[in-house]
């Protein structure tokens, strides 16, 4: 019974899924529309769109890898501090004369080790992800500050390092290309590979996954390592973009990346994290701050409006879901 319905059911369900996407997504579209109407020819100008993508590229990298951690049902609060730390590390190594690529490799390694540390604490010692990554966040932060003695590193970074954050390839900033690569790979892994399927399974029901023969601990660990490396990559791009390394520069990434993932989650019926949703979340956050700036709204009111717009966007999808 019902077997023959499988295909049409699938199609209909696909349509529903798209309908649901319209919630937060409609909020996003509405926001774009309003900004476009209020500043015609400016908000949607190719130049401004390029600006937006460039502004959100770093956040998008972190949010994308954060999505993986959240797919397995955890959190990573240490990404911001890790981005600062890796940014500081790569700057210092380059200043001391290491080549650009080895320098970047070491920075990513730092990210991987930090992520490994988080992952071991959470997956093998059973700490709650919140406590563990809050603690490592504090520690990484202290390390970045201690490493630089609180100051900004800038002089002596070779020009060639501008490649990552300031170079342009085919009319798009390299940071956007890097972001696109990270996003694409993560999308592929999560949606199309056995690994991704397993990550989702662990997030869905860790006990059932364990009994189904999955290596639950290993998978959670892998997610944290990935998130550490993603944060480190973001730190590298940021240092390249600012062409200087500040020991607390990455901090705003933490809440923003989690917020982006959560915003994206509201787009999916079952509320699971999803890189597509995350991307919309990132664009919503980035587009909003860009648009409000362009509209020349008072900075403080901008904060109030930001909060309200997020709520509106999310409420829309909540209502869409309820309507079903």
């Amino acid at each position: 019974m019902g077997e023959m319905q499988a295909d049409s059911g699938g199609a209909r369900q696909g349509a529903q899924r798209w309908l649901r996407l319209y919630g937060t997504f409609a909020g996003f579209v509405a926001m774009v529309g309003i900004f476009a109407l209020m500043r015609p020819g400016i908000f949607l100008s190719p130049n401004n769109l390029r600006n937006i993508t460039e502004q959100v590229a770093i956040l998008a990298i972190v949010a994308t890898t954060m999505t993986v951690v959240m797919v397995v049902g955890d959190f990573d609060l240490s990404v911001g501090a890790m981005a600062s730390l890796s940014g500081v590390v790569v700057a210092d190594l380059l200043i001391q004369g290491l080549g650009v690529w080895p320098g970047v490799a070491v920075a990513l390694l730092v990210g991987g080790i930090g992520g490994l540390f988080n992952g071991v604490l959470v997956a093998y010692f059973g700490l709650s992800a919140f406590v563990a990554t809050l603690a490592t966040m504090t520690a990484f932060r202290g390390l970045a500050l201690f490493y630089t003695n609180g100051s900004t590193l800038f002089s002596g970074i070779p020009e060639s390092f501008k490649l990552f954050g300031q170079g342009v390839t085919l009319a798009l900033p390299n940071s956007v290309w890097i972001m696109a690569a990270v996003w694409g790979v993560t999308w592929f892994v999560l949606e199309q590979t056995t690994l991704g399927r397993r990550l989702y399974a662990v997030g869905g029901n860790a006990q059932a996954s364990y009994l189904a023969g999955l290596n639950v601990r290993g998978l959670r660990l892998a997610a944290f390592v990935l998130s550490g490396v993603g944060a480190a990559l973001a730190g590298v791009v940021m240092t390249s973009r600012l062409f200087s390394a500040h020991p607390t520069a990455g901090e705003p990434l933490m809440l923003n990346s989690i917020a982006a993932v959560f915003l994206g989650m509201t787009m999916f019926r079952e509320g699971e994290p999803h890189v597509l949703g995350t991307l919309v979340g990132v664009l919503l956050l980035g587009g909003m701050s860009n648009g409000l700036n362009i509209l020349q709204v008072n900075s403080y009111l901008q904060l109030v409006l930001t909060g309200l717009i997020i709520l509106l966007a999310v409420l829309l999808s909540g209502l869409a879901r309820r309507g079903e």
Binding site: N149, G150, S289, Q296
Partner: protein
């Protein structure tokens, strides 16, 4: 009236300068200039044989009060407030006063309970940089301010700068942007990109005045990345990265160096004198800043 140095009761029978403990508390250690000033002070203090302790509360003023109380508990000989607004810590200052421990401000502020504050004149810093910017753009055009009002020093600079711009009939302050901390460089950079979009033509914006050097750096980068010309940027603090930018002769045209080294040194002298029983002449010592421009950047 000055209090006799209470060295005796804190450290017991130890003799001389070795028993002098000075506690430095600050909410802004993550800020490079604060760090520099405090490091300098620490060195001068150590040179005098003092035991200098430094505490950072990471922008948490509630904790700062606690830290002052901790210092009082430890019966230090003097407390130095590193760049925090005394208005936000009266309780700690009262505790210090009650214990007879003098509090000195290092670029902090004056207020009840603060024996003396040594500072750059924030008004002067804001006024001079604004003046330089105004002249650099020929006394005409639209100006944007990058501020952070919750920080009283930066707020005072911004007010002085606004007042200075007001004296030029050709200059209008078109926007005042609040720059978020932490992450001010990136934030200022994105904000500037958006500004340039909102004011798309050369000449729409003539200058950006930033309350400290980090946002000025971000603004400069955005302007240069966008290839816009005719916009001048000034910052405040004269940090080394600002000097480097100014030296390149780009959009970043000036900053103003606060003489933190001089401040730290002078404060150490004043404290030494105070502990020796000599009251300072006034509550406030102001050290003028030195303008950094392309000529003297390196």
């Amino acid at each position: 009236a000055p209090v006799a140095a209470p060295a005796g009761d804190a450290a017991g029978a130890d003799s001389g300068a070795a028993s002098v403990t000075v506690a430095v508390v600050t909410p802004y250690m993550a800020n490079a200039t604060t760090k520099y000033a405090i490091d300098q002070f620490e060195q001068y203090g150590k040179a005098k044989g003092w035991n200098v302790t430094v505490t950072d509360t990471n922008a948490d003023f509630n904790l700062l009060v606690s830290r002052i109380e901790d210092a009082v508990t430890q019966q230090v000989d003097a407390i130095v407030l590193g760049m925090g607004d005394p208005a936000q810590m009266t309780k700690g200052l009262e505790a210090a006063a009650a214990a007879g421990i003098p509090v000195f401000g290092l670029d902090a502020g004056n207020g009840p309970g603060v024996v003396l504050n040594i500072t750059s004149d924030n008004g002067q810093l804001g006024q001079e940089t604004a003046h330089f910017l105004a002249e650099a753009i020929g006394g005409e055009g639209a100006v944007v301010l990058f501020t952070h009002d919750p920080h009283p020093g930066v707020r005072a600079r911004a007010e002085a700068a606004a007042a200075e711009f007001a004296t030029y009939p050709g200059i209008t302050v078109v926007e005042k942007k609040h720059i978020e901390v932490p992450g001010p460089v990136d934030f200022a950079r994105s904000t500037t990109q958006d500004l340039l979009t909102a004011y798309p033509n050369d000449g729409d914006i003539a200058g950006i005045w930033a309350g400290w050097d980090e946002p000025a750096l971000g603004a400069t980068q955005a302007i240069e990345a966008a290839g816009r010309s005719g916009i001048a940027v000034v910052g405040i603090d004269g940090t080394d990265f600002a000097r480097a930018e100014i030296g390149k002769g780009g959009a970043f045209v000036a900053s103003i160096a606060q003489d933190f080294d001089g401040m730290a040194q002078q404060l150490a002298e004043i404290i030494a004198a105070y502990l020796a029983g000599e009251a300072p002449a006034s509550e406030s010592v102001q050290i003028p800043g030195v303008l950094v421009t392309a000529e003297n950047a390196q």
